[in-house]
């Protein structure tokens, strides 16, 4: 196993790389803010019609849910471009395989660096706008803050693991457009990005929140933050999905490498 300084260098490289895309960062944050307003008004109207509280969320909780999840989008990179798959398609992935670090951990280290930069920019911007425009929910328990931080890291790991496992299908398919489309379809509807999953008709909510990985990416950290439901159960669910997704990514990567066809000349 390579020394930790190698991983640390990769984390820093990821941070530095994304910190150079300044225009794109501003443009992306603007879009997150715009959709934050749209979603907040939608949720407020739904709560008003439902008598002030929607599926256990009052107005400050709904506003927090919407704005913090808008900030999380770029942080966990749920809809980012399938970079590794592109590298396999073009043949650039050769350099990833030549390095003395396992490709999955290598990419995860770079992704953590990317997330660190996103946390300072893309996460903060919508949260500040949301707080100024609507006022956000202040957690009642001090333990919520570390729990949310842990939940955020787990969300990042689950998202990375699932996405990398999906990207690895490129070794067999040579083009991931199909799997990526399916990913966007399901992760949009089932992660909590469109509406809090608890407003789904019974018995769907529990099924979607615990039985599928998507909720562990957005819904779970939001519930931890607004203190809806048992935080321990949410964190354990996320940890369980991370413990499935990451080994799955490593396994599929290994199987895929055997199938790998190096493209290009």
């Amino acid at each position: 196993m390579p020394p930790l300084t190698v991983y640390w260098a990769l984390v820093r490289a990821g941070f530095r790389r994304y910190s150079t895309y300044r225009q794109a960062t501003v443009a992306g944050a603007t879009t997150n803010v715009m959709f934050g307003f749209l979603r907040t008004y939608g949720m407020f109207a739904a709560a008003a019609a439902a008598g002030g509280v929607l599926a256990g969320y009052d107005r400050p909780r709904l506003a927090t849910f919407v704005w913090v999840s808008q900030g999380m989008l770029a942080t966990i990179n749920i809809w980012g471009p399938p970079e590794y798959a592109e590298r396999v398609r073009t043949g650039d992935a050769v350099t990833d395989l030549l390095r003395p670090v396992h490709p999955v951990w290598q990419l995860l280290a770079v992704d953590l660096g990317r997330a660190g930069f996103a946390l300072l920019t893309r996460f903060v911007a919508p949260v500040v706008v949301g707080a100024l425009a609507f006022g956000l929910y202040a957690p009642a328990r001090w333990s919520t803050y570390p729990a949310f931080a842990l939940s955020l890291v787990l969300a990042l790991l689950v998202t990375f693991g699932c996405r990398h496992a999906l990207f690895c299908s490129v070794h067999w398919l040579l083009d991931v457009r199909g799997p990526m489309t399916a990913w966007v379809l399901f992760s949009t509807l089932l992660s909590g990005m469109v509406f809090p999953l608890w407003i789904l008709p019974e018995p769907l909510p529990a099924l979607v929140v615990y039985g599928m990985p998507f909720a562990s990416m957005v819904q779970a950290p939001m519930d931890v933050l607004v203190e809806r439901g048992d935080p321990l159960r949410l964190l354990l669910t996320q940890a369980a999905w991370a413990a499935v997704a990451l080994p799955a990514a490593v396994l599929i990567q290994r199987r895929g490498e055997r199938k790998m066809v190096i493209q290009g000349g």
């Binding site: 225009q23 794109a24 443009a27 603007t30 008004y41 939608g42 929607l54 509807l189 469109v194």
Partner: protein, 263 residues
Amino acid sequence: MAEYYRLFLAQARGQAQYRASFWFDVAASTGFGVIDLLGVLVVFHASGSLGGFTQAEGLLIAALAGAGFALADLVVGSVERIRNYVRTGLFDAVLLRPLGALGQLIAMDFAPRRAGRAVLCAALIPVTAVGAGVQWTPVRLLVAVLAPLCGAVLFGAIFVATATVAFWWIDSGEFANSFTYGGRDFSTWPATIYGGVFRRVFAYGFGFAFAGYYPALILLGRPDPLGGPPWLAWLSPLVAAVAAVVAGLFWRRGVRQYRSTGS
């Protein structure tokens, strides 16, 4: 015109060559349309009504706005790729040809594979109208047909106007999405749910209320809950025309601004 027609045809033929890919894209486009409508269904189901509109009325608004957006996306949606042309300098080649630049781009990137969503939403207009209990008159029939077309012109104008940002601001990336996809999401819901300044800017400033909300009010025979005068609901064609002219001006300024990559 014949040249554009031939470009369109070549595009359609080219895409139809990869048959499995083509049908997959059609299915995906339909899937995204279904997801949007599922979102509307779930939120209305949880809240009972939204902004003073029932679920059936809300679906009618979503279908009208969705059809307009999808039609625009089908024809000019690919114009958002202009940022790649500007960055790579490929736009030089477009300017050198003896055809209008915008017309060429639209013809070059025409995407019949995105037809799924347009067909779905268009088919849902009569279904949701019946569901919402629309009393049909010849005028309302005309409104039901014209509304998606006006919506398409409006969204098309937004696509073109926001894509021109790339001429000034090359790495603008997602910026245009705020107004194209943001506009779609805005017009999917009754305009009554939005607050103060935000509503004024997007419903009237950008005209998104005229894609779904106002045509639906005419079909339903309802006065504007926002207190607008009765003639306001009939302005959709005018709003679309103004938007198209403004987008045209943006485009001209943008093309003049264009400087090649100079490599």
